[in-house]
Symmetry: C3
C-alpha cells in the first residue's frame, strides 16, 4: 500500500476502504492529488482488491472544494503524472482504472469534490447528511474538472443547467431524484448497505467486472477533449475581472470567524453576495 498523506486505507475481503482524512475540509489540493495518483498507480498494477470505497473521516464534509489558494501546486502535481493535463483528466484516469469505485457520502461535497465523486463508478449518500453542489457559477467560473460533462449525461440538459447555473446546494433526496447519485440511503444503514455491496462485487470474477466497467465506460464517460476544454475555460475565467471581483467579495465576507458558517451553507451564501 502506498504511503498516503490525506488518505487512510485498509483492505478487507477484497475491498479497499479509503478514508479522506485531511481536516477541516478535505480540500482538493496537491496532497489529495498526490494520494490519488498513488492510488491509481497501484490500482493499475495488481491490487489485492477489486473494489474501492471512498469515505470521509471529517465531520460534515466529504470534500468542500478545490483549494483555490494552491491551484498552481495542484497542477504541478497532476502534470508530473499526466503532462499538460488538468484535474479533470486525472479524475478520468480514475474512471478507467481496473477497479470498481464507490463514493459513500455523508457530508457536504462541492465543486471539485463533487467532480471527484462523479468520476467514481457509483455514489451512495446519507439521506440526512449529504449535500451536493457545483457552486462555480457563483464565483464567475464553470466546473472545470468534468462536473458539467458528467452531470449533463446523468441528469439531462435541463437539470444540469439548473444545478450548475444556480450553483446551489442539493440534498441527497433531490440529487437521487435527478439521477445525480445512485441513491439516498438512511444514514443509519448507509455503512452496511455500501459495505455489503462492495463485498458482494469483490467476490465476483475480476475479468467479468473489468469487462463490464469497460463496456459501460466506453459509452458513458465524457470525451477527453471536452474535459480538457472545460479545464482550460476554468483557468481562463479565473483571470476575468468579474471572477476576481466575486472572489474579493467572498474574501471580505469569508473571514476566519465566518468560515465554518460559509462552508456549511455555501450554496445559500454565494447567492447572497
Amino acid at each position: 500500500m502506498p504511503q498516503f498523506k490525506a488518505f487512510r486505507a485498509q483492505v478487507a475481503a477484497g475491498v479497499l476502504t479509503v478514508t479522506l482524512d485531511d481536516p477541516p475540509l478535505n480540500l482538493i489540493g496537491p496532497t489529495f492529488a498526490e494520494d490519488l495518483i498513488a492510488l491509481i498507480q497501484e490500482a493499475e498494477a495488481s491490487p489485492a482488491y477489486r473494489v474501492v470505497v471512498f469515505e470521509s473521516a471529517v465531520a460534515n464534509f466529504f470534500s468542500a472544494h478545490v483549494d483555490l489558494t494552491r491551484v498552481p501546486q495542484l497542477l504541478e502535481v497532476i502534470q508530473q503524472f499526466l503532462p499538460g493535463e488538468f484535474l479533470g483528466m486525472l479524475y478520468r484516469r480514475l474512471s478507467t482504472a481496473p477497479v470498481v469505485t464507490i463514493a459513500k457520502v455523508a457530508g457536504r461535497v462541492r465543486g471539485a469534490g463533487n467532480e471527484f465523486i462523479l468520476a467514481c463508478d457509483m455514489c451512495f449518500a446519507s439521506h440526512e447528511r449529504a449535500v451536493f453542489g457545483q457552486m462555480e457559477a457563483g464565483l464567475g467560473l464553470l466546473p472545470g474538472a468534468g462536473g458539467v460533462q458528467h452531470l449533463t449525461r446523468l441528469v439531462g440538459r435541463q437539470r444540469a443547467m439548473e444545478v450548475v447555473l444556480s450553483g446551489d446546494d442539493y440534498g441527497a433526496e433531490l440529487a437521487a431524484q435527478y439521477g445525480w447519485i445512485n441513491r439516498a440511503i438512511a444514514d443509519a444503514t448507509l455503512d452496511t448497505f455500501v459495505g455489503d455491496l462492495a463485498r458482494r462485487i469483490a467476490k465476483f470474477p475480476a475479468s467479468g467486472l473489468r469487462a463490464i466497467k469497460t463496456s459501460i465506460a466506453n459509452i458513458s464517460l465524457p470525451d477527453e477533449h471536452a474535459i480538457r476544454a472545460d479545464g482550460a475555460k476554468f483557468l481562463e475565467l479565473m483571470n476575468t475581472e468579474e471572477a476576481k471581483s466575486r472572489r474579493a467579495a467572498r474574501d471580505e465576507r469569508y473571514r476566519e470567524d465566518a468560515r465554518a458558517e460559509w462552508e456549511m451553507n455555501y450554496g445559500r451564501i454565494i447567492g447572497e453576495l
Copy 2:
C-alpha cells in the same frame, strides 16, 4: 425592448419576464414567431438581463399547439430570419442564445408549445395545473420541431416512445418523474421559486453563465440535421391521406362549441377518434 404582439415583457433585477398573452390558446403561429425572433435578436445583442422567464397570462394554457391553419405563414416568418429552416431550428437558436431561459408552466402546453419549453434551458411546472403533451401521433404526424429529439435525450428511449407514440397528456408529477421537466412545484410557491432562482442566477457573472450554458449545450442539444429531418418528415406526413383523414375526423368533432372541451382534454379526446 422590441415591440411585441403576442408577448408582454418586463425587466427587473437582471431578469426579463416574458408573458405569453395571445388568448385564447397562445398558439404557435406567425405572430409568436415574430416575437420570438425579435427576442432572440435582442438577446444575441447586448441585453440588460441575463435570465429570461417565460410564463403565460392565458388561463389554463401556456401554449396549446401550433396553429395548423397558418403553417405556411409561420414558415414564411421563420425563413425570413433563417432561410430554408423550420420551427425546430428557430427553437434551437433560442437554445444557444447567450441568456439563461426558464419556462414556468401553470397550464396546458402541447405539441409545438411543448417543443418550445423543451428548447428553454429549464422548465418548472405547477404541480396542480400543468399538463404536457405531444399529441402529433394522434393526427398521423410526428413532433417536428425538436420534441422527439429533446424528449429522447431527457427521458430515455422507452419513455420517449410511450410519451410520443401515445400522444397522451401527462401531469406535472409524472413529467418530473420521467425527467421531462426539472420539477413539479406546488402552485402556491411556483412564482416565488422561479423568481428567486432567476434573480439568483442573474447576479452571477455573465461570462461564467455563458461558458456553462455553452458547455452543457454542446453535448446535449439535438443535432441540427436530426431537427431538420424531423421537420421535413412533419411536413411530408401532413399531406398523407391518413393524416388528412384524422384531421377531418377532428374537425368534425372540433366544432366551435366543443373547442374549449377539446383543448382542455386533447390527450383523452384524440384517443377516442
Copy 3:
C-alpha cells in the same frame, strides 16, 4: 400468423398479444429464437397489427435467463437468420421492426430475458410481482445481448455500474425510479393499463407511428458495433477459468430440488456463492 412453439399469439383491435408460454422458465434458447425470428419476419412484412404486447403465461417468470446449456444451438438458429451475429443483434432487429412493442412484466425477468424487454419499445411492470436483474457478473460474465448498452443509456453510468456489477435483483419500484422501465403499475390494473395504451396507439396512423419510432430509435438505440463487441466478450468470458469455476459452484448448489428456490432468488443466491 406463424406457427409458434414457445409463444401463443392473438390479434384484436390492431394489437398482437404474444404470450410467452414455455414453462417452467421461458428460457431464452433456440425455440424462443425461432419464434422471435418468425415474429420479426411477419412484422417486417405487412402485419394486421400496429402494436405487439409481450406477456408471460408462466407463473413467477417472464423469462428467467438464457439457456446456458444450449448456447451453440441458440447461435445456430440466430445465424441462419443473421449470419455471423449473436443474440444482441437479433434483439436489435426487433427494436427496428415497424411495429410498436410493449413488454408487460409481472414476474422475474433476468439476464437475456431482461435484455429482450430492453429491446422492446416500452416496458410496464407489476409493482408487486416484477423483478429485474442482470446477474452475469456473478458468473464471471457480462450481459452480452445489449443489456449493458441499453441500461447505460436509460439509467446513466453510475446506476448502470451498480445494476450490472452487483448482478442483484431489482423490484419494479426501484427499476422505475432508475428509468430502467417506463413505470411500476399496481398489479390489479396492469392488464387494463397496457391494453388501453396498446389499443390507443393501434388506432393512430401507421405512417406516423413508424416515423416516430424511427426518429427515436435513430438517436437512442445502441451502436451495432458495441452490441457485437459485448456479444463477443460474453463468449470469450464463458471460457475463462474464473467463469467455469463460478458455474461449477452454481451447479453444485443448483441441484434439482433447489432449482425453484434459486430461480426465485437468483440475485441473492449468486451473491452468496
